[in-house]
Every structure is written in C-alpha cells, then in structure tokens.
C-alpha cells in the first residue's frame, strides 16, 4: 500500500515523486487487462441474465399464471436458475476479476501465465452455461447451492483449480515484501473454494453419503461459500479501495490480521444453523450456533477498522463513486453479519427460519454487501485497465441510487414479510388457515417485485456505461498512462461535485 500514490499526492502529477512507480503500475495493469476484462464481461452478462431470472421468479410469486405452462420456467427452476447465475455467474466472475487485479497490484508483479486464466474463464463459462441449461431442462439436483447437475460441475471445478494455482504462482513472484491483508483474504479464498466445492460435490453428487448427513454437508458447503469465498473476496476489495481512495492507511493492520484468523476459525462452523431443530445431532447444531455468535468478533473488528478509517472523510462520499459503493458495502457487511449472528439464536431462529426473512438476509449479504463491493471495485479498476474515464457520471448516479434504493426496499419488504410469516407460523392459533399467512405476506412480495425492477434499472445503467467505456477511444494515447488518467479523474470528480 504505502508506496502506491495516494489521491492527494496525485493532485499535482508534475510534482509527483512516484512517476516511475506509476508507470510500473500501468505496466502491471496492461498485463492483467485481458483476463480481468474477460471475467468482468462474463460477470456482467450473468448479472443481467440473473436479474431477469430473479424478476421473473418474483413475479411468479404473486402471479402464478405467469408462464405457468412452461415447465422450464416453473417457479422452482427459475428461482434456482436465478440463484446459480447470480452466485456462480455474476458474483464469482466479478470476484475473480477483482481478485486477479488486486493480486497483481498488491504483489507488484506483472501477470504471468495469463493463459491459465483464459482457460479457466472458458471452462467456467461453458460449465455454467451447461449447468444453467441443465437446471432449466429439469436435471437440477435440488441440493441448495449445488443445483448444477453433475455433468457440468467438473468443468467448474477445473476452472477453480486453475485460478487457485495461478494465484499461488503470482503470490510467489511478488516483489513487495509486505503482504497486505487483501492478499491474505484473496489467497485464502482461492484455496478454500476448490476444496470446499470438490468435497461437497463428491459427498453429495458423486458418492453421496446417506441420510441427513447430506444436509450437514450441504450447509457446511453452502454457508462456507458465503463465508470463505465471497466474504474474503469482498473484504479484500473493501480493505483495498477504502484506504486507497481516501489516501490514508487502514486504521490498524494488526486488527485486520486478527479479524482474518477469527473469521477463518468461526465462519467454518456456522453453516449448520440452517438446520436448527432439524433431524441432525443437537451437538452439531449447538456448535454451529456458538460459532455463529462468535462471528460477532471478526465482524466488529472489521467494522471498527473500516469505519474508523472513514472517520473524518465522509465528505468524500459526495464525489467518489468507488468510495460510495465500497462504504455502502462495508456498512452492509457489518449490519448483515450481526443480523446473521442473531438469526442463529434459537429463539430468533424459531421465528425467522423457513420464512422470507432469510431470503431478505441473503440478499442483504449477497447484494447490499458483496455485489456493492464489486461495483465499487469495478468502478476503480475499469478506467485503469482501459486507460480512459467513465463516459457518464449520470449513469453512475442512476446506477447507485437505483440499486441502493432497490435493495433497501427489498430488504425492508422481505424482513417484514418474513417476520409476519414467522410469527403466525409459530403460533397457528392466531390465524384461521395457512392461506391467511400467504395473504398477509403477499403485498410485501409485490413490493419485492417493484424493488427488483429498480435494481434492474440500475444494472442497465451500469451495463450501458461499461459498454460505452469499452467502445470509447483511449484518452490521449500519447500521454503517460496513469499521468493523464489521474488528472482526468480529478477533473471529472470535480465536475461531479
């Protein structure tokens, strides 16, 4: 971190002592351009597809005749296609794109063996396309988060393994002796994921274990995808971009390491809270509940670190899109994680389990936290890769407000719906029939569809902006790369404020 130029230092590039350093960063960016772009574009494709699937599923909740006679568009399948496209398409591809860029940047090394990554991207996207097709065509497994049929998953596994291998190589060639916390998170995530995925595939699809042990494997996997894959990738981004944009170091390096290890230890065990009250041994569940509550420790440490770094700089949220998305994400991380720990308490879980409350929670996590962190990161990375600025500040503004309000509405609606649903479901004497619960929640499900439309608008704005920046001509090709780019940057930012 310390030897890359901060924003304040970049204000007068002429007087900048880091010109050589920046030329080197430019060279690194050049070497990562292709793989990062490939993963980003794939991510955006899946983001749009996933948004449409999600919207369709949401509409079908309050409009059951909507495409009712097409089996491949039936509720169970379309909802699952939504989950798998946004998780394995958008979130994973975006996470990888950001991780690749950060890894090279922080290791201060040119990208080596980019072809491994291109191979990974191909395997990955072909595998996913086959998988989503399989889900819609009726081959899905109905094992939550692992619905992609067994004939597609080996392709995905190969892709993951390639990326893990590449990350280790890059890390070994680092020229920077200092290891920043983002590197810890990325490396750990890239190592955890193939292992998790491979184990779950074997124990559930290829050589299934018997009985409800399957459910334990299922939730050990599914929750760890969040905790040991998306969370570390998101944290890596936020840990980098908030201090980067602010031009000051993270509040405490040691706290960040402490948070890393406590997260690694506790998150692992937390997943079984999905089975509270279920037909599995009570002691496993108790361990899961304890671990979920212990997650408060890494979360609060991380929150302290992020938010204290922000103190005194909130004014910058006005002009920096990167910061705005990243801080929105960091705040959501704190909130959603604390909510998650609470939901693991048996008394709360009794009400929220099996309801829309959980769906609200997962969108809070995967969208308001992870997805927003990725948007923030991409707003920073793309101009550096392409050596040109974002063409439209208005589109960025539309993007931010549409998705921020959209996901906010989503969370509020489903939290209320879920709570109502849970209260009545725990006490049948309060309602006449099960149908009453449906009627009480239905208006909120309509609100969810509206929030989905808002989110779609935001995504369209983002995709247009990305298309425009891709199509635009590089700004002042002859000028030194980062030089002109940073001054452009500031000109735009100034105009924006």
């Amino acid at each position: 971190m310390s030897n890359s130029p901060s924003l304040t230092e970049s204000i007068r590039p002429g007087a900048d002592p880091h010109v050589a350093e920046r030329a080197r960063l430019g060279e690194i960016d050049e070497s990562v351009r292709l793989p990062v772009l490939v993963f980003t574009i794939a991510a955006l494709f899946w983001l749009m597809v996933g948004t449409l699937f999600g919207l369709l599923a949401s509409f079908k909740f309050h409009n059951y005749e909507f495409f009712a006679d097409a089996a491949w568009l039936s509720m169970g399948r379309i909802r699952t296609a939504h989950l798998n496209t946004v998780i394995y398409g958008w979130s994973t591809c975006a996470g990888i794109a950001v991780a690749l860029w950060l890894m090279c940047r922080l290791s201060r090394t040119r990208m080596r063996h980019a072809n491994i990554l291109i191979v990974a991207a191909i395997f990955w996207n072909v595998g996913l396309t086959v998988g989503i097709y399989g889900i819609l065509a009726g081959d899905m497994t109905s094992i939550e988060w692992l619905e992609i049929p067994g004939y597609a998953t080996p392709l995905l596994f190969i892709a993951y393994a390639c990326i893990g291998l590449w990350a280790i190589i890059t890390f070994r060639f680092r020229t920077n002796s200092h290891v920043y916390v983002s590197q810890w998170y990325i490396l750990a995530a890239l190592l955890w994921f193939p292992w998790l995925y491979g184990t779950a595939q074997i124990m559930l699809i290829f050589e299934p274990v018997r009985g409800t042990v399957q459910s334990l494997v299922n939730w050990w996997f599914a929750h760890n995808v969040l905790g040991l894959w998306f969370t570390p990738l998101g944290l890596a981004a936020v840990y980098y971009f908030i201090p980067k944009v602010l031009g000051k170091p993270i509040h405490s390096y040691y706290l960040s390491i402490l948070a890393f290890w406590t997260l690694a230890l506790f998150y692992n065990w937390a997943g079984v809270h999905h089975l509270i009250g279920g037909p599995v041994p009570a002691w496993v569940i108790s361990a899961g509940v304890v671990a979920s509550v212990m997650m408060v420790i890494p979360v609060l440490i991380t929150a302290l670190n992020h938010h204290v770094t922000m103190v005194g700089s909130f004014g910058m949220l006005k002009w920096s899109p990167v910061l705005r998305f990243s801080v929105f994400a960091a705040m959501s991380y704190t909130a959603v994680s604390l909510q998650g720990s609470m939901m693991a308490l048996r008394s709360v879980n009794e009400i929220t389990s099996f309801t829309h409350f959980t769906v609200g929670h997962s969108h809070w996590g995967m969208y308001a936290w992870f997805t927003m962190a990725m948007f923030g990161a991409l707003y920073y990375i793309m101009p550096r890769l392409l050596k040109r600025e974002w063409p439209s500040a208005t589109l960025i503004r539309v993007h931010f407000w549409a998705v921020a309000l959209g996901v906010g509405t989503y969370i509020v609606a489903l939290t209320i719906a879920g709570w109502i649903q849970g209260l009545y479901m725990t006490d049948p004497s309060r309602v006449d029939s099960f149908g009453d619960i449906t009627s009480f929640t239905l208006p909120w499900l309509v609100v969810r569809s509206i929030s989905g439309v808002m989110i779609l608008i935001g995504h369209v704005a983002f995709v247009i902006n990305v298309a425009l920046i891709l199509a635009a001509k590089p700004a002042k090709e002859s000028a030194p790369t980062l030089f002109s780019e940073t001054s452009d940057d500031l000109g735009k930012e100034a105009a924006r404020s």
Binding site: D69, L275, A287
Partner: protein, 205 residues
C-alpha cells in the same frame, strides 16, 4: 506471518477442523443408521417404492423444496405439530431410505414430511397439482398442468381422468389424464408418512 505456508496451513487446518466436526464425526455417529424393528416385528421406516423414488426425482427437478420443507421440528419448537404437520418430530432415521435430502429452508407452503398421512387421497393430490386454487382459493402454489395431458376422448373415458375441475374442466369431449411423472410424484407424496414410532422420537399424543 508473511509467508505462503502460514496462510496455506491456516486455510487447511481451519477447513479441516470444521469438516471433521460438522461432517466426519456425524458421519461416524449416524451415517450408517439401520431400520428399527417395531413391537409387531415390522421394520421402520419402510423403503421407498420404485415409483415413489422416481417421484422424488420429479420433486427434485421441479424444485418443490424451494417452497416446502421436509422436516417436522419437535413439539413446542416452531408450531410444526400444532399445524398438524406431524404428531412427532422427524429424526435422522426417518430419512435413511431416501437417496437425496430435501429438508428445505422455506415454508411458502406447509411441511410435507407427513403429507401422505395427512392427505391420503391420491385424487386430491392430482387435482391440487393440476390447480391448487381448486382446493384452496387463496393458494399461491403454481399450477403443474404440464404434468397432465389433455386428450380427446375416444371411446371409453380414461378411468383415471381428473374430475371435479370446476372452471378448469376441459371442453366437452376432452379429458385430463395424469402423466407418468404425475403418478410418480403423487406416489412419492403419499409415501411420506410419520405414522410409526421410533425409539428416539417418542410420539406425543
């Protein structure tokens, strides 16, 4: 702590630790449960019939699990027994004959672990799958009409053609007949019963 081996070992041990606890030990503990003999000598739970196993596949590929859970929690926790979704909680042994678990995390609709005992009438299930509004006007369960075939009646009407379809009835001269997938699915639903006792799940009357 700056080097690759530290991260690598940390990553390895944390995941191995949780895998051992959450997966391996339970697998040792109850991964090989056997059926249990009741006083009258019958073995519980009964195996799934071939058709019911195919029905489970239909249940899986249509994603019923995303609206229906498949587990009854103990009386006093969450109102499951008060709803009449089962007289007792479901325990690990209840699931040993089922190749894929669908415990579920969502109850847009009622729990189905004991649905065969609660609604033993196959005809009801066919009609309900064809259009749930026929039995529950406020239901949001999607219609599964594509599991049925609309046929022109030639000669004798099909013995298992759906009746009582109300405003969903086919035009004169046509009939609605369940496909094999519908038959399998209904067989699976009817097989889901918790009407036997297991030592570890004392029934509460």
């Amino acid at each position: 702590m700056k080097s690759l081996p530290v991260i690598f070992l940390g990553v390895f041990f944390t995941l191995a630790f949780s895998w051992t606890g959450v997966v391996l030990i339970p697998q040792q503990q109850f991964g090989a449960l056997e059926r249990q003999e009741a006083d009258d000598g019958t073995m519980h739970p009964a195996p799934l019939s071939g058709l019911a196993t195919q029905g489970l596949q239909v249940y899986l590929d249509l994603g019923c699990v995303y609206c229906h859970s498949h587990q009854v929690r103990r009386p006093g926790f969450g109102g499951d027994t008060e709803w009449g979704w089962g007289d007792r909680q479901s325990v690990a042994r209840d699931y040993i004959n089922q190749p894929v678990m669908v415990l579920g995390t969502m109850r847009t609709g009622p729990d189905l672990k004991n649905v065969g005992d609660r609604i033993p009438d196959a005809g009801w299930h066919y009609t309900h799958l064809y259009d749930s509004r026929l039995s529950h006007p406020d239901s949001i369960m999607p219609p599964y009409r594509f599991l049925f075939e609309k046929r022109k009646i030639t000669g004798e009407p099909h013995p298992r053609a759906l009746s009582g379809l109300g405003d969903q009835a086919p035009p004169e001269g046509y009939e609605i007949v369940p496909t094999r997938r519908a038959d399998a699915l209904v067989a699976f639903l009817l097989s889901q019963r918790l009407n036997y006792d297991l030592e570890e799940a004392q029934r509460e009357f």
